[in-house]
Assembly symmetry: C2
Homo-oligomer: 192 residues x 2
DNA sequence: ACTATAGCGGAGGAGTGCCTCCGTTTCTAG
DNA sequence: CTAGAAACGGAGGCACTCCTCCGCTATAGT
C-alpha cells in the first residue's frame, strides 16, 4: 500500500496525497482539472477529459481516484469544508449579517454549484455527510439571526438552504442579476 | 414527403402528426414517453430508451423526430403553450392573485422543469422563441400586479421568472417544502 | 552514482448511445 | 379484396466513455 499523508481530515473523508513530488504534482493537477470539469459539465464530466486537461494519463487518474465518486468527493468535500470554515470567519458579525455573508459565500462556490444541485436529492453517504457538515456550520448562524428577529419565525434552515442552492444553480444573464435575485429572495426571510 | 396535419401552430413550430392511425398512436406514445424521460433524466435522456418506453422501434422515433431537438421541441413547446393559455385563464383574477396563480402553474409543469433549467442559458432558437412566448403571456400579469402596488417597483419580470425557475428545478424533500419555499421567495416580491 | 520501486500512461476490450438503412408488416383507398 | 404506399423496427457501423493491465520512466534513499 502506498504511504500517504491525509490532507484533509475534518469531514471524515481521508483524501490521500502521494509522497513523491511528481505524483503530488499530478494529484493536484487532477484535482484542479476535475474542479473545472465538474463546474462545466456537472458531475457526469468525462474522466478521460479530466485526465487530458490535467496533462496526465488516464491510468494516473484511476490510481489516485479509483472511482469517479472518489474524485468527485475530493473536489466536493474540499469545497464544503471551506464553506464550514467560512462559518467561523463570520462569527463576530451581527446575526443577520453573519448569516447573509455565509450564504453569499455559499453561492460563491462555482465548481460545485451544479454538483450541489445535482446531488441534492441523492441518497448517498457522500451527500448525507456533506449536508450534515454544512448544517453544523450554518445552522447556528441561522438560529442566531432568527432569534435576533431578523428572520421570520415560520421558516427553517433547511428551507432556506434549498432555496439558495436552487437559485445558485439557476441560470442568470449575469452576476448582477444573480445577486439581485438572491437579495430579492432573501428579503422574503425578514418578518413583515 | 409525408402528408401531415399541423397539430399546434401558435408558436410557429409546426409539429406534424401523421395521417395513419397506427402512426398517430406511435407518435403520441413517443411524445408521452419523451415527456417522462426528459422529466426524469433531463434533456440528455437516451433516445433508445424513449423508443423502448413508447414500445416502438428506434427507427420510428427518428422518422417522427429526425433530431433530438425536434423531439425535445415537441414536448417543450407543448408545455410552454399550455402555460401561455393559462395566462388567459387567470385574467379575471385580481392582479396579484392572477400573477401568483400563473406562477404556480408555471411551477406545476413537471416534465420540462429540469429542461427549462438546463436550456435556460442556451442561445438556441428554440429557447428564444419559447422565452418570448412565455414573456408575452406572463409580462402583462406581472405589470398589472406591479402597477397595483403588490410587487415592489425595483424588480422586473425576468428576475422573477428566473428566480422561480431556479426554485422549480431545485431539489426538495417534498411538495410541501417546495410550496413553502416558493411562498417564502414570493414574499420578497411585495413592497416593504 | 545506483538501484529498487512508486508511479506513469496509453492501448484495448467492453459497454452504451446515436443514427441510417432497408427488408418486412400494416394500413387504407379504390 | 387487393395492391400500392406508408410506416415499422432492429441490425449494424460509428463514436465516445469507462476502466484494467502492464511495460516503461522518474524518483528517492543509500
Amino acid at each position: 500500500m502506498t504511504e500517504t499523508t491525509s490532507a484533509r481530515g475534518s469531514l471524515g473523508v481521508a483524501i490521500k496525497r502521494p509522497h513523491r513530488a511528481d505524483a503530488r504534482r499530478n494529484f493536484d493537477a487532477l484535482l484542479a482539472a476535475a474542479r473545472d470539469a465538474f463546474a462545466e459539465h456537472g458531475s457526469g464530466a468525462s474522466l478521460e477529459d479530466i485526465a487530458r486537461r490535467a496533462g496526465v494519463g488516464i491510468g494516473t487518474l484511476y490510481r489516485n481516484f479509483p472511482t469517479r465518486q472518489d474524485l468527485f468527493d475530493a473536489v466536493y468535500f474540499g469545497e464544503i469544508e471551506e464553506l464550514c470554515q467560512a462559518a467561523d470567519e463570520v462569527a463576530d458579525l451581527p446575526p443577520w449579517e453573519a448569516f447573509e455573508t455565509w450564504l453569499q459565500r455559499f453561492v460563491g462556490y462555482a465548481a460545485t454549484k451544479r454538483a450541489i444541485y445535482e446531488e441534492l436529492n441523492r441518497d448517498s453517504d457522500l451527500f448525507r455527510t456533506a449536508r450534515e457538515a454544512m448544517y453544523d456550520a450554518g445552522q447556528p448562524l441561522f438560529d442566531q439571526a432568527q432569534q435576533s428577529g431578523a428572520i421570520r419565525p415560520d421558516t427553517n434552515f433547511d428551507d432556506v438552504l434549498r432555496m439558495v442552492s436552487g437559485l445558485t444553480a439557476a441560470g442568470f444573464v449575469d452576476d448582477a442579476q444573480r445577486t439581485r435575485v438572491l437579495n430579492l429572495a432573501l428579503d422574503g426571510l425578514h418578518p413583515r
